[in-house]
Symmetry: C2
Subunit: 204 residues, 2 copies
DNA sequence: TTCGGATGGTGACAGTGTCAACATTGCCGG
DNA sequence: CCGGCAATGTTGACACTGTCACCATCCGAA
């Protein structure tokens, strides 16, 4: 219960309502799903008036946009962390793939907003769209690196990028949506095993 | 404008409001997205009172459930049609895959509801969940047939089914969500070319 | 022909996104 | 040190939504 304002002043101001709104929104989405999110509910949980969020986000869509930015930054960080120290291009690509699926499973609330909220680019901050682009670029360059290592550096990496993205994104989506029975997610390292299994199936 | 009641009686009864609601809802989703759908808007478009839909669907979720059923039946029909007359197991599988992606692109409003609406199984009619199961079964048996043809009939078809589903579903999802630039969809047979390209990329 | 169930209408309620008008606060220049 | 301004929060309102209880109308079967 140690939230709300750093210094116990008048308590009129919250302290960091913007950040609190983002984490609260994520929590609500995790509990009630994306369509169960309401700004008023977030405000209520934070003990703040129903219109307070509008001091920080012009719009509900703006909140979601910020959440999307957070999500892509997290995905990017997870990808970089997983690929760190891995040299072999194919191993790097697979590491990113596993990180992609793992992130979706670990942060389903962000993943759902990233790909499930139908919002126009227009409402997103440049910094947030940039994060999304970077995540895609990382995949693209990883595929390009693999092609180069195979002596096919002159090929367009885009078809391969699309193919790889489709596979990994499909698995992540099916898992997050509960389309794949939860028993496939039981146990330590289940996501990694599952993802590598799917990848290897196509590389027989 | 030739809708509303078959016989021009008192016009108090609509004629087939249930069916009209389903097509109208689909239209609204296509225009405004899934979160832009409201029962009242549908009722308004059909010239009917705001509570009339409740005579046919106990719930907004029930409407969505029926739409999901429609969607899976459509997907199933598209799959069967595409595989008709095709004998080679691998060709059959690919035909289903292309049909899957094509259906998503052709009926994005259904596809979005099928996989984007976070609703519990509880609210769905048995007939509708059955359709979803059948669509999955068709994929499963197709994969099993391919395995059998390759002399690996004793293997569990589930991993392969998952791998194939992930790939195709990922591509469909990315297309429907506009994650893949629309230029990849331009021209006749673009979806088929794109899908086969992705499939072949993994079978080099 | 009559009556009951199926279908549709009205009005109400709570919850939501959003805005305008107002209140409180922290902070920065004089 | 202090006075005012911008940032932040509050209150009250509006339109819209899902949903319900209650009433109206109609079709077909007994």
């Amino acid at each position: 219960m140690a939230q709300r304002r750093k210094k116990p002043t008048g308590a009129y101001h919250h302290g960091d309502l913007r950040a609190a709104l983002l984490t609260t929104a994520a929590a609500v989405i995790r509990e009630r799903g994306l369509h169960g999110l309401s700004l008023r509910e977030c405000a209520r949980r934070l003990g703040v008036s129903h219109a307070a969020p509008y001091r920080h986000f012009g719009d509900k869509a703006a909140l979601l946009g910020a959440l999307i930015g957070e999500g892509f930054r997290g995905l990017l960080a997870a990808g970089h962390a997983a690929m760190e120290g891995v040299a072999d291009p194919e191993a790097r690509l697979h590491a990113y793939g596993v990180a992609y699926v793992q992130y979706a499973v670990d942060a389903p609330e962000h993943f759902r907003v990233m790909f499930g909220a139908e919002l126009e680019e227009k409402v997103m901050e440049p910094a947030d769209t940039a994060a999304a682009d970077e995540a895609f670029e990382l995949l693209r360059t990883s595929v390009a690196a693999l092609l180069a290592a195979e002596g096919r550096g002159d090929e367009d990496p885009l078809p391969g990028t699309l193919a790889y993205w489709s596979l990994v994104h499909g698995l992540a989506t099916l898992l997050v949506d509960g389309r794949i029975p939860a028993e496939h997610l039981a146990g330590e390292g289940a996501v990694e095993r599952l993802t590598r299994g799917v990848l290897e199936h196509w590389e027989r």
